[in-house]
């Protein structure tokens, strides 16, 4: 794994964590309202998967999608402004936390009704296949979403017509307060793809590298034209389902056990053994990178300082995202009608 890749994954995971914790604070302050579903604990999924996607791939996500949007490159300020319901939000303040959209980055929306991501994804996949384009669609959903009828219907069609869709189940073992063994007859989600003959695999979602590797292979097979692929990524959310959920249905020991495997910590550890050798870095040219590694070798903890630095930067980024959001105007009714009639054009209706 290239150092840059590793560093940028680390960056995105730290950003994800900081952004979400800040969103929680802003919610408490009343700057954000509605339902707010946060991602801490699951960062390795979004980061591992989306770092494997190409710019012209499409992403379809759920209501728990801030981090998917951030990692996809939607600026933090536009995401935060959307959570604040402001005009400069990535959905113009009309969508909010659960409905982030970014046409330019092919971020095709967060959907609030569980199970809607499947049909949207296969529809985009259908269009790609029909035009024989070298693109793919990444479709996110949770373990609870697997029991919605659209899962079955859409996976069947995806397989039948060999659509270029990567289905990614973020299995955090809970459907709000209902644990997986109480909502699914078969709790190994990847096995449920067998009813459609879709190749599927289970991945440790606490290990960003494993997620990334599995994604790359799956996308590779998709681009070879073999049809859809399925990844079950085992993960855990540290917080309640949304800001209004105290999460008291889970024993504390369970939450702690998973926190010990925090994917952000995991990637910090991973980044040491995978750090490039000096000769590898030499090949890239000496500069602050070499300085960094030199320091690391001397002190044995440089990567921690590096991280501290990165964290500072991210804290500033998140601060400025909040400021941006606070300073962005509210949309007015004119904007709302404009959004609704965005597709009217010059058409004479009556």
């Amino acid at each position: 794994m290239k150092r840059d890749t590793l560093l940028s994954m680390l960056h995105d995971m730290l950003l994800a964590r900081a952004f979400e914790e800040r969103a929680a604070q802003e919610y408490t302050k009343g700057n954000i309202a509605g339902f707010l579903h946060l991602y801490p604990g699951e960062e390795a999924v979004a980061v591992g998967v989306l770092h494997g996607a190409e710019p012209n791939d499409y992403i379809v996500s759920t209501y728990r999608e801030h981090v998917h949007a951030l990692v996809r490159g939607v600026p933090a300020e536009k995401v935060m402004a959307e959570l604040f319901g402001r005009r400069d939000g990535c959905s113009g303040g009309m969508g909010g936390s659960m409905h982030l959209f970014d046409h330019e980055r092919r971020f095709m929306g967060g959907y609030g009704i569980v199970g809607e991501t499947y049909p949207v994804a296969i529809g985009i996949g259908y269009s790609i296949a029909m035009q024989e384009l070298p693109e793919a669609v990444i479709c996110f959903f949770g373990d609870g979403a697997v029991n919605q009828g659209t899962f079955h219907e859409s996976l069947n069609m995806a397989a039948l017509w060999k659509l270029p869709v990567l289905f990614v189940c973020e299995n955090n073992r809970y459907q709000i307060g209902t644990e997986i063994h109480r909502h699914s007859a078969v709790t190994e989600v990847y096995k449920r793809a067998c009813g459609y003959r879709i190749p599927s695999e289970k991945v440790n979602g606490m290990d960003v590298l494993a997620v990334h590797q599995a994604t790359l292979s799956a996308l590779q097979r998709i681009r070879e034209g073999t049809g859809p692929q399925f990844l079950e990524v085992e993960t855990y959310r540290f917080r309640g389902h949304s800001m209004s959920d105290p999460g008291s249905y889970r024993p504390n020991v369970e939450v702690q056990a998973f926190k010990d495997e925090d994917p952000v910590t995991v990637v910090l550890e991973e980044s040491i053994p995978n750090y490039p050798t000096e000769s590898q870095l030499d090949a890239l040219g000496r500069d602050n990178i070499a300085h960094l590694t030199g320091h690391m070798r001397r002190e044995g903890y440089l990567e921690m300082e590096d991280v501290a630095h990165m964290k500072d930067e991210i804290a500033r980024l998140v601060d400025s995202a909040v400021n941006f959001a606070l300073n962005s105007p509210e949309p007015d009714m004119q904007d709302a009608w404009q959004a609704l009639n965005c597709n009217r054009g010059q058409e004479v209706v009556i």
Binding site: P119, S127, A129, G149, M157, L340, I350
Partner: protein
């Protein structure tokens, strides 16, 4: 120009014309391909355009309608055929929560050039589950448009207009109209897609209706003309938006309004029509506006009861007579 084109054929020609003009148009639904469509609307298109553009689907209404939503978001122009409106209850999340809301929720980033065609209405003894009407439900959805053509000429143009539009449009086709014939002149320019039409001018009473019931209303009006009553018949052609100006102009002229619909009366399409026109033309009305509608009952299988459960030419004529000559008929 043909004198004797059935509605299904006009739709078929419209599909063909749009598909040959624009590669991004495709259609999908159960048996639209090899079989040619339950009501022949997609006949021959499979052979002409191939399976990717004329796609036979599994019985998965929710997801194949949602599939079309996704495809429309990336610039395709899908035309979904839901085999009949009765199965559309399974696709309402895709239509209401997705197609109609995505353009808005995305702050206007994603147009939705989607058409969902649905044959429907009370046909011939198809019983309760296959005689569902859904006008009222769809009318209440901001962001949707609804076309209800009653003639081959309207079927032809409205379908072409719907396919070309960037907004999500539900296209309600009445099963009893497919094989009814009329003039199709493809050279005539189209009226705006949602403009209402005066099918018959008159001075004594306005009947507002749409789809199959517009046809029956016209027949009833013709009968009544022999009795000296001069009825104006308006065919709405569209249920969302409704061309209020045309309707109001007529009511302000005739001072009497009868709304005829097949939909169950309670909270049916007619409620909105009566409510708005009464609000708007209150001081022009000589008598309360009336609705003649389907009974508030699931459709019985038995043929006699089925007929009795919705307006007929005779009952429309009776209702009109009752309004103009109250008390004079039984």
């Amino acid at each position: 120009m043909s004198e004797e084109t059935p509605v299904w054929k006009a739709l078929n020609l419209a599909m063909d014309a749009e598909m040959s003009d624009d590669d991004s148009v495709f259609t999908l639904g159960e048996d639209v391909g090899l079989y040619g469509g339950s009501y022949r609307v997609t006949q021959d298109l499979y052979a002409r355009y191939g399976e990717w553009r004329v796609r036979d689907t599994p019985i998965s209404e929710g997801s194949f309608t949602g599939l079309a939503v996704g495809a429309a978001m990336v610039g395709m122009r899908p035309v979904v055929e839901i085999m009949t409106v009765n199965f559309a209850l399974l696709a309402l999340d895709a239509i209401i929560n997705m197609a109609a809301k995505i353009p808005f929720m995305s702050g206007g980033q994603f147009p939705m050039p989607l058409v969902v065609r649905m044959p429907g209405g009370v046909a011939k003894q198809l019983a309760a589950q296959h005689s569902q009407r859904l006008e009222h439900t769809l009318m209440n959805v901001p962001g949707l448009r609804i076309a209800v053509p009653a003639t081959p000429q309207d079927a032809w143009w409205q379908l072409r207009q719907a396919i070309r539009s960037d907004e999500p449009i539900v296209f309600l086709e009445h099963e009893l109209l497919y094989f009814s014939k009329g003039t199709l002149d493809t050279k005539l320019p189209p009226p705006p897609m949602h403009r209402a039409t005066v099918r018959r001018p008159g001075n004594d009473l306005t009947i507002i209706s749409y789809s199959h019931m517009a046809k029956l209303s016209l027949k009833a009006a013709e009968r009544l003309s022999a009795e000296g009553m001069d009825i104006e018949v308006i065919d709405l052609r569209s249920l969302r938006p409704i061309d209020w100006d045309s309707c109001a102009a007529s009511v302000e002229k005739t001072h009497h309004l009868l709304v005829v619909e097949e939909d169950c009366g309670f909270a049916g399409a007619g409620a909105e029509i009566v409510a708005t026109l009464t609000e708007r033309c209150f001081h022009f009305l000589d008598a309360p506006a009336q609705r003649l509608a389907g009974l508030d009952m699931p459709t019985p299988y038995n043929g006699t009861l089925e007929t009795a459960s919705i307006p007929t030419t005779a009952s429309i004529a009776d209702a009109a007579r009752q309004m103009l000559l109250p008390g004079e008929i039984s």
